[in-house]
């Protein structure tokens, strides 16, 4: 591997159901406590009545919620990386950000009734928070004057935004890329749409999300944002910025199997994991931890377990696996960006994140699930998976900073 191609993360920012900021998330991750609770924002009377809500009062309700969380994550990652977010736009600083679909103001829509002009105003207002309109505002918020990318690959989006950042650095198209994702789908219409797909858990909050457990019943919607400062190791060293973690590999693939159902043997997921390993120049045995996509739905967890087993073969029992969604809920567009930050924290701290609510092993998910909190491990490389509707798959490999040699 050429040292000039090594990508490091020099700053991270996060707003999640676990808390606002890196230290709050670090503490919650170490404690292994769940942050899924009955929904506070509204009561729609749906069977799925809990979520991974961001409870920080500084985050406003309404359509500006996703933007506000993104801005907080951007500010934190820039500060940690020693970048001046308030400076003039830097043409060598790019932005690669995945933005969840803006929500609909249902009450305002009801008030508009059949008034076409009022409906038009609502549509235009909503579009103000969708990716093409929001992206330049986020770029200004972190002084990114270089190219701006918004990619959307459903629940794989966060990994793909970070993976693209890695590619831009490797190609020399930017000195620094700020990458991440934001989504605020704890909203009645979003929950309704997932209910229509029979994807949500109807269990009480504390046990609602149980990835890889034999009695899992579905996922829980969450919300949040994360941002990472990605640059070449050389560039970071030149400006004296210490690395939080390194980015070692990235892989993307499609299932080509179904719109909602993933391939039962995890064909596409295995392709993405193998592509990330090849990109990193690693073998499966080098991976010390997998942060699984692990939504808690019966079929998705089964397919991911099959994919991990296919890639790791006989060594599957040796790699510890957990899904942090049991603690946070499924943050959808933002999921894998947030999980990349949580994985980086796990690497730094040497503590394997707990797979909360894992009580009974599933014969169809024969994985080494991390069922006890506080397990310490010396980790060099960790993989974080993100899979989405439409058969989108992406895997990212993060490394403890000194491991890329």
């Amino acid at each position: 591997m050429s040292p000039s191609a090594a990508c490091v993360i020099t700053g991270a920012g996060i707003v999640s159901p676990l808390g606002t900021g890196l230290e709050a998330n670090r503490a919650a991750l170490r404690a292994g406590a769940g942050h899924i609770a009955p929904i506070q924002a509204f009561s729609a009377g749906l069977a799925a009545d809990c979520a991974g809500e961001v409870t920080d009062p500084a985050v406003p309700r309404g359509q500006e919620r996703a933007e506000a969380m993104a801005r907080m994550a951007l500010a934190e990652c820039c500060a940690q990386a020693g970048l001046d977010a308030g400076s003039a736009p830097d043409p060598r600083r790019a932005l690669s950000f995945a933005i969840g679909k803006a929500t609909v103001d249902l009450e305002a829509l009801a008030a508009a009734g059949g008034d076409a002009a009022a409906r038009a105003r609502l549509e235009q207002h909503r579009a103000h928070f969708d990716a093409p309109a929001l992206l330049p505002r986020l770029a200004r918020a972190c002084a990114a004057g270089g190219p701006q990318y918004s990619s959307y690959t459903a629940c794989a989006s966060g990994n793909d935004a970070v993976g693209l950042a890695m590619r831009l650095i490797q190609r020399g198209e930017a000195d620094v890329v700020i990458a991440g994702a934001t989504d605020a789908q704890v909203h009645p219409l979003s929950l309704l749409e997932f209910e229509l797909l029979s994807a949500l858990s109807h269990e009480p909050a504390a046990r609602a999300c149980r990835p890889f457990d034999r009695n899992r019943t579905g996922f829980v919607v969450g919300e949040g944002a994360a941002a990472l400062v990605v640059e070449s190791a050389e560039h970071a060293a030149r400006r004296g910025a210490p690395a939080v973690a390194s980015l070692a590999g990235y892989g993307s693939s499609l299932d080509a199997h179904g719109l909602t159902k993933c391939h039962p043997q995890g064909r596409g997921a295995a392709l993405a994991m193998r592509a990330a390993l090849a990109d990193a120049g690693l073998q499966p045995r080098h991976i010390d931890y997998i942060n699984a996509h692990g939504t808690g739905t019966v079929l998705n967890d089964q397919a991911e377990a099959a994919a991990i087993a296919a890639v790791w073969g006989d060594a599957v029992a040796s790699v510890p696996v957990s899904s942090t969604k049991a603690m946070t809920g499924h943050l959808l567009t933002a999921a894998s960006a947030v999980e990349a930050v949580l994985t980086a924290l796990a690497l730094q701290d040497g503590v394997l994140p707990l797979n909360l609510n894992f009580e009974q092993a599933d014969a169809d998910c024969r994985l080494n699930i991390i069922a006890a909190p506080g397990r310490r491990a010396r980790m060099r490389f960790a993989m974080s998976n993100g899979f989405g509707f439409g058969g989108q798959n992406s895997s990212l490999i993060l490394a403890f900073p000194s491991s890329l040699s």
Binding site: L106, D130, S252, D279, G281
Partner: protein, 293 residues
Amino acid sequence: MTSFTTTPRAVVVTGLAAVTPAGLGLEAYRRWRAARPAGSGPGATVCAGFDPARYIHQPRRLRSMHRTFQLGTAASVLALQAAGLAAAGALTPEKSGIACALADVSPFTLDLHAVVAAAVGADGRFNLRHFAELGLHQLHPFRRLTLLANMAAAHTSLLLGLQGPSYTFTSGAAAGAQTLQEAYWTVASGRAELMLCQAASGPEQEVADAPVAELAAAAVLESDEHAFRRGAAPVATLLAGPAAAAPPAAAAVPGAEAPVQGLLAALDEIEARGARQVIELRPLLLAAMERAV
């Protein structure tokens, strides 16, 4: 980690396609664009004679696709035909991927309007619980899926069996050029043998009844080695050019047609250069972004 300090593989364009209200192909696109009344409206917006069933031979799949996704997938089929890759088994699934550009699909659907209206009580107030109850029965079960931008790639991959890398850009006017850029680098770095670039716009993207033209564009990019092996005649060869020539800030200009206009502009430029030209990617993308705005 794959390093880009090594020389990237040569990448060729072997198939181009456009679907426009003025007909198929980039010549039709130029006619349509020239006829569009400047500043006074969108001109012809509907591909009236276009029947996607001619290109998508799976009736059930076709019915589950928005018109926008039908147009995009049909354009990809046309581009593969132009590249001589239409036959079953012509693609290696794991080595073939797709990069799409798409604008937002409006969530303000007729069924949503109906359910919201029905949830307003006699007192004129919106009742969220009643809305949720009605929605469970009256909203389309796959509503969520129809609104996701990456469904364009999903539908096309299902039809064509693509299992390689997949990206969907929603960065407005820059998105079309970004599909070409990432498809180029995915092939150049050896992560895929072939990448489809695809963009489309259609009626589902209309915001507040502002008509959106039905447009679609697609291109086939492959390694020159892959094209040579199968005896394909490249339309053009793409070269990355120096990183210093990277396009400057490409602000994400909103607009439902912007992503497809960006890709169409780039493909138009490729075709206009004439057969078998060597084209530097970065200036091409910059010009495409400028034309798309």
